[in-house]
Amino acid sequence: MTATLVKLRDEWFEYADVLVDVMIGYACNVQCDYCSITDEMRKENMATAPVMAALAEARRRGAVKVAFGGGEPTIRRSLLPLVRWCRDRGYTSIKIPSNGLMYSHESYARDACDAGITDFHISFMAHTDELYAKIMGRADALSLVTRGVRNLKALGRTPTGDLIIKHDTWMHLGDIVEHWAGLGIESFNLWLVSLSDRNRDNLESLPTVSEMRDGIVAAFERGKRLGVAVRSRHIPRCMLPGYEDHVVDLRDDKVLVVTPRATFALWESRISPNTYAEKCNGCRYQHGACLGLRSDYLERWGDAELRPTYDSAAAPAA
């Protein structure tokens, strides 16, 4: 094997195709009501030097795609210097996922663009002041994020929207898509709330997909009507029959996650769908187009909603 290859789980990839996703720290400027980051984790932040060392090594091996996650990366003062440093050394894709609050400062939005961020991702919690405030804990959250989006759009940038599916958002997903599409957002990812770490005992936050299906489908349909892309990234295709083409395989992104604690492939994460139920054995999509289900979902709700597709020879005995 050459030094330009990296192993993600059991496959080898060219570094040039891999997104190096550095969790530079878990500190955040808000505490959303579904966030899985614990108080202890919030104190974990990577020093800048090891981050740069890891990125220098990845770049030397051919990596050109990097993301800085958290926590909220934009509150870290070294973020934009890190972005400039990456840009100047040949990283051509620099992604920042954010809650969008900092971009409400026009000067920060401009500096972020100038520094070299190429992909802005913003988590849109809701479409109303009330729901946004309930989730994010700031009464002015919606107005600040709206201002942030407008600042970025004025600078010629179009963020990607990340939407959380949970007990108090699923029924609004269509309206949330429409609201932010109205501000120029063209692409949305749907993420299923995770029962892990700080949110582990918040069982109410995660209803069954069957219960939330109408809202999820409404988001897909609203997207189609509005001409924007809406994709699901955490729900197996068999739980969204008729909408399989909206289901994204996380492995396509080839993400190598670097955290203060460990380095691993995104789909090995505890909050990624990577678990098959027993009834999945023999499904034609197992280990192929289907990543499986999130383990916390399987633990909470079991496998009753899964609808494996068996080839006749592989069908389990009745």
């Binding site: 500190a27 955040c28 400027n29 808000v30 505490q31 108080d39 919030r42 800048t48 030097a49 740069m52 060392a53 990125l55 220098a56 090594e57 770049r59 030397r60 934009t74 509150i75 003062r77 070294s78 210097p81 890190l82 400039r84 440093w85 100047d88 050394r89 040949g90 051509t92 609050l101 900092m102 409400s104 400062h105 000067s107 804990g137 002015d140 600040l144």
Partner: protein, 157 residues
């Protein structure tokens, strides 16, 4: 109301309480200023509405005039630490660049972008306006957007 004022001063109990407007100095500056007094007093930081409260309990008996001088010293220390804060912010990128070169050298260096003319300068030349930029973030962030959330303190801000 003065920005920093003496709330209580009681030489018999060796205590001095100051208050200051939370909008004047960032919390980091308050911590740094209070730290300077740790050898002389026990210090408690608190907050009441829109003012930080700083309580000193001297480690040895002091005259009232010494406590008054301590209040003045604390005001000066706040100013000194605020200036340090600004200088650090103004030089943050230079510091990062120096570290970058050190780390890059230690790891055999990352290649510059294909087609780029040369390795970026250690200390890039900047526009005059950037060097003149005296904004330091906290003064231009009245909504506290950049401030990390502190567990257990939500709602008190």
């Amino acid at each position: 109301m003065r920005r920093v004022q003496i709330e209580t001063l009681d030489a018999t109990t060796s205590t001095l309480t100051l208050s200051l407007d939370v909008g004047l100095y960032p919390r980091d500056v308050l911590y740094a200023a209070a730290y300077v007094f740790l050898d002389r007093a026990y210090v408690l930081l608190d907050r009441q509405d829109s003012r930080f409260i700083v309580r000193f309990r001297s480690k040895r008996p002091l005259e009232t005039s010494v406590f008054e001088a301590m209040a003045g010293e604390f005001e000066n220390e706040l100013l000194a630490q605020a200036l340090r804060h600004q200088v650090f912010d103004a030089n943050q990128r230079i510091i990062e660049d120096v570290v970058a070169v050190a780390i890059g050298g230690a790891s055999a260096g990352a290649e510059p972008a294909a087609g780029s003319a040369a390795e970026p300068a250690l200390i890039p030349l900047r526009g005059h306006s950037e060097l003149d930029d005296t904004e330091d973030g906290f003064l231009t962030d009245p909504a506290g957007i950049a401030r990390p959330f502190e567990p257990g303190k939500q709602g008190s801000e």
